[in-house]
Symmetry: D2
Subunit: 309 residues, 4 copies
C-alpha cells in the first residue's frame, strides 16, 4: 500500500520501459503520480501516452522536467549512457534531484554514477529489484523487493516511490550495496540450484523416487529455496517452471548475466568464488546449447538428458 | 518413544562402538534390550560390560548369539571386513537374521553386502544416520534420523530398533537408497555451504553488513540451511560452530569423506556433478591446510583469511 | 625388433583379445611365440586358432599351460575376475610364472593383484600401454609404449615380451607405478587438451586466425602436445582427428574412464586435483551429449558449437 | 639486431618506466633513439635523464614532442588515464603519430583506445609482450616477443621500434588481437601449469620418482612447456624458479591479473572457459595464502604442502 498525500505527487521520471520497467511505471501511474517517460524504443512509450504520461525525447529531457527519476536498464553500459551520455540525465539534472537506478549492474558502476550525480548536487541510489523469478507477474502486482543502497537520510524519499512498485523495500547501506546484495543472492541461488539439480539427478540414478528425495532433502541440512520452493525436477512440485517445460520464471541468459556481474565484483575485490565462477560457466554453456530462454532451473534437464549427435 | 513389549526384547548385536556407535548402543540398553557388542578396540567394549552387555571376540561371535545386529563402521572396507571377512558376521549368521548397517558407505557396497547376506538366508538393510551435524549430542539424545533402504516388508522390524536411537526413521526404497539419500543430501549441503561462504564473503567485501546480508538472503531465493540455520560467518548467529571458532559440529574430514562417496556413486552412474566434484576438491584442500578437525562451515574462514607465508 | 633365440620361445598366454589385445597378441605370434589364448567372447579367439594358437576355456586353463601370461582387459573388475575369479589365473598358476597386466586400471587394484599373485609364488607386473591415441594402428605396427611397474629384477624378462609389441618399454618402479604414470599422463593430457580448446576458441572469438594463434602458442609458453601435435581445431593441422570430423583417435569414453581412475587414485592418496576433477566432469558431460565415440579433441567442438533446442 | 639509418631516428616517447618499461626504454636509447620519457613516479625518470633522455611532466607533453610513443602500463585503467585522461596523450597528439601500447590489458579497452586515437588522426597498435617469464633479464637482453595488433600497413613502422627491444615481433591482426594472443597463451599456460602440478603431485604420491615421471610425461602426450621447460617440482630441473624456492620468474599476482583479463574477454564474447575460470580462482586463492610474490609454478607447492593451523 502506498498512502501518500497528493501533495507529494509531483512528476516522477521513468526511463527504461522494458519487461520490468513497463509494469513498474504503470504502478506509479496507478498510485496517482504524474509520470514522464523515456525509452530508446519510441513504441515502448506509446502505451504510456495513452495513460496520460508525458513522453520525452531523451533522458536529459526527463531530467529537465522531473526531480525524481527511476531508471530500469538492461546493463552497465546502458546505465552509463543514460546517466552520463551526450543526452544523458546529467546534462540537465536539477540540484537536489533524487535519481534511483533499479537496473542490475556492477556495483562499481553504481558508485561511479553516484559520484558523477553528486557532483551535480543531486542524489543517486541503487535499488535493484528481486522477484524477477515470478517475473512480469510480480512486477504487475507490485510484489517486487527493492534492495536499496545510498545515503541513509534519503532512504525514506526513495521508499515513498518504491513502495508503489514493491511490497518490500530494504535498506542495505552505502551506494552499491543494493547491487551487492542482489548479486550475492543470485550467485548463491545459482550455486544451490545447480547443487539441487546435481543431487536430485544423482539420487534418481541411484534408485530414489524424486518426490521422496525432495522430501528428505527438505527436512535435512541440504534444504534450500531451490529444493523446497522451486524444485527443478519435473513432477516434484506444481506451479513452478519445471512443471511447465521450464517456461516462464527467470531466464538462463539473465542468470548468466548476473553471474557475470558477480565475477566482475569478485575480481575487483579479489574474492575467491570457486563455485560461483563454475556456476557462471555452466549457465554460459547452457546459453550456447539452446537453454537461453528457458528458466534457470532447466540446469536439471541440461545435466540429466542424454543426447546423441 | 519406543514402546515394545519385553517379549520382543531378544538380544541385539552391536558392532562398532565409536563416536556415534557408543551412544547409539547405549540407547538400546536404555530401552531394555540385551546387547551383545564387538569392537576392534577391546577398550571400547569395557563400558558396555559394566552396563551388563555381553562382550564378544568377533563379528562372527555376535552373529552366533544375536539374530538382530546393528553395525556402525567408519568406511566401506571396514564394513566389508565385518560382514564378509575371515571372522565376519556371515561366517555364523543365522537364517532369518536382520542385519542393519548404519555406516555411511558406497551404496554399491551396500548392495554387494545385501547380496551376500541374502545368500545366507538373512536380511540386510542400510540405514545411515543424519544428524551428525549436532554430533554425539544428538546421538546421545536419540535425536538421529535414519534413512533406510531394503525390502519394505522388513522395514517395521528395523524401525522397532532404530526408533530407540532416532526420532526419525524414513523408508527410502530398495537396498542402497538409504546411503543414496544421505550422500545426495550431504553433497548438496557441501555445495550450499561453500556457496553461502562465497556469497557472504563477497558481500562483506562489497561493503554489506554480514548480519544484514544473512537476513536478506534468508528472505530471498538464496536462502538455504547453511545460511539460515548454520551460518558460517562468525557473529551472525549464536550456538553454531562459527560462533565458537568452528569447534564441534561436522568435521571437514568427514565431509570430504562423504563427498568422496558421492564422487564414486556419480562415476558409477555416469552422473555429471560439476559443483559436487569441485566441493570435494575444496574440502580436500582444506584438510591439507589445517582445517581437518574444524567444522565444515570453516570454509568461510578458508576463503576469507589472507595469510603470508 | 625382437631378436630372441627360439630357445626362449616357450608358450605365452594372452587373455583379452579386444581392440588392443588382438593386434598385440598377433605381434607375439609374428615374433614366433607359441600363443595360448582366452577371451570371454569365443569368436574373438577364432582368428587365433587359424593362426595356430591354442584356444582355452578359461584363464585358469591358460595358467596351466603357460608360465608367461599377458592380460589386456577393459577395467578393474574384469582384471580382478580374470586373476582371482572362480576360473581365474590364480586357480592354476605355476610357481615362478610371470604375469603381465597391460590393462589400464586403478593402481591400488594392481597392488592387490600383485599381492595375491605373490602368495602363489608367481610374479606380477603392471604394464599399461600408451599410444592408444594412434589407436589400433599403433598396436598393429608394434608402436606402443609400455610403462612397467614391478620388481626390477624381473623387468628384463617382461621387456623381452613387451618389446615384440611396443617400441618403448619404460621401467617406472614398484608395482602400480606403470598405472600411475599412465594415469598421470592422461590426466595432464585431458587438462591441456581442454585448455587448448578453451584458448583457441577464445582467441578465435577475439578475432585471431586459428592457424596463426596455434603458431603463436607453439612458439610460446602455452605450447603443449595438444596444441602442437594434435590440435583440436579443424583446419589447423592435417592427419589428426580434428581434420576428420573427430573420427578415430582416442575416444571421449576412454578418456572419461582414465580420468575416473585418476580421481580414485587422487581420493585414495588425498591429492587435490581441482582441474583434473573438472576435466573428468567435462568429458562425462560430453559422453552424455553425443560425443562418446568421437576423439577426445572434440572438446573444442563441444565448447564452440552453439545449438538451439 | 636493429639496423635503421640515423635518418629515421627522430625522438620516440616512452611512458611507463616500471620493471619492464625501464629496460625496454634503455634498449631504445642503446639503439640511438632520442627518447622522451614520462612516469607517474618522477624518480623512475631520473636514470633516463642521466642517459640524456628528455623528461616531461605528463603524457600530453610527450605527445607534443614525439610522434612515435610507446606505453607500458600496469592495467586497463592506467592505460585509459594515460591516453584519454586530463593530461593524456590525446590532449596533444599530432596527426599521423604512431602510438604503440605494450601494456597487457583488456582487448576491448585496446579497441576503445584505438577508436579514440583514430578520431585524432593518429594510429594505435597494441603490442603486448611475452617473455616476462624470464622477466627483467629478457627485457634487458632485448629478448622479448611482441604480439602486435593494428592496421597492417603500419606494422613495419611499429616493427622498426619493437625490434630494438625484442627478438620476435609477430603481426596478429586487427587492433586488440595482440592482447588476445597474449591472453590466450597465458590462460593456456596457467591451465597446463596447474595440470602439470596436479599430475606430478599425484604421481609422486603414487610412488613415482619425480624426475622419471617428468621424463615419461615429456616423451608422451602430456608433454607441455610447463613440464619440459619450466617444471614446477623442485629437483627436476635446474635454472628454473622451482629450483630456487620459486623466486624470480612470473609472479602469481601477475598471472592472476592476466587470468582476470581472460575472464573479462570470455564474458564479453560469451565463450565458455571452465578450466580457465578455475585456474583464475586457484591463482586468486594462492595470492591470498601468501604466494603472491612467488613464481606461478609455486602452484605445485600450494597443492602439495600440508599445513596445520
Amino acid at each position: 500500500m502506498c498512502s501518500r498525500t497528493m501533495a507529494s505527487k509531483t512528476p516522477v521520471g521513468f526511463i527504461g520501459l522494458g519487461n520490468m520497467g513497463n509494469p513498474m511505471a504503470k504502478n506509479l501511474v496507478k498510485h496517482g503520480y504524474p509520470v514522464i517517460v523515456y525509452d530508446i524504443f519510441p513504441e515502448a512509450c506509446k502505451e504510456f501516452q495513452d495513460l496520460g504520461a508525458q513522453v520525452t525525447e531523451s533522458p536529459a529531457d526527463v531530467a529537465e522536467r522531473a526531480d525524481r527519476i527511476i531508471t530500469m536498464l538492461p546493463s552497465s553500459p546502458h546505465a552509463k549512457e543514460v546517466y552520463t551520455g551526450a543526452n544523458g540525465i546529467l546534462k540537465k539534472v536539477k540540484k537536489g534531484s533524487l535519481l534511483i537506478d533499479s537496473s542490475t549492474i556492477d556495483p562499481a558502476v553504481s558508485k561511479e554514477l553516484a559520484k558523477a550525480v553528486e557532483k551535480m548536487g543531486a542524489v543517486f541510489m541503487d535499488a535493484p529489484v528481486s522477484g524477477e523469478l515470478e517475473g512480469v507477474g510480480a512486477a504487475r502486482a507490485g510484489n517486487l523487493t527493492f534492495m536499496v543502497g545510498g545515503v541513509e537520510q534519503e532512504f525514506n524519499a526513495a521508499k515513498e516511490l518504491l513502495t508503489c512498485m514493491g511490497s518490500n523495500v530494504v535498506y542495505c547501506g552505502e551506494v552499491g550495496t543494493g547491487q551487492a546484495a542482489k548479486i550475492c543472492n543470485n550467485m548463491l541461488l545459482a550455486i544451490s540450484m545447480i547443487g539441487t539439480a546435481e543431487a536430485m539427478n544423482l539420487g534418481i540414478r541411484l534408485g530414489l523416487d524424486p518426490k521422496l528425495l525432495a522430501k528428505i532433502l527438505n527436512m535435512s541440512s541440504g534444504r534450500c529455496w531451490s529444493s523446497d520452493t522451486y524444485n527443478p525436477v519435473p513432477g516434484v512440485m506444481e506451479g513452478v517452471p519445471s512443471a511447465n517445460n521450464y517456461q516462464g520464471g527467470f531466464g538462463t541468459t539473465l542468470m548468466a548475466k548476473d553471474l557475470g556481474l558477480a565475477q566482475i565484483s569478485a575480481t575487483n575485490t579479489k574474492t575467491p568464488v570457486p563455485l560461483g565462477s563454475q556456476a557462471h560457466q555452466i549457465y554460459r554453456m547452457m546459453c550456447a546449447k539452446g537453454y537461453a530462454m528457458k528458466d534457470f532451473s532447466a540446469v536439471f534437464q541440461f545435466l540429466r538428458e542424454e543426447e546423441s549427435l
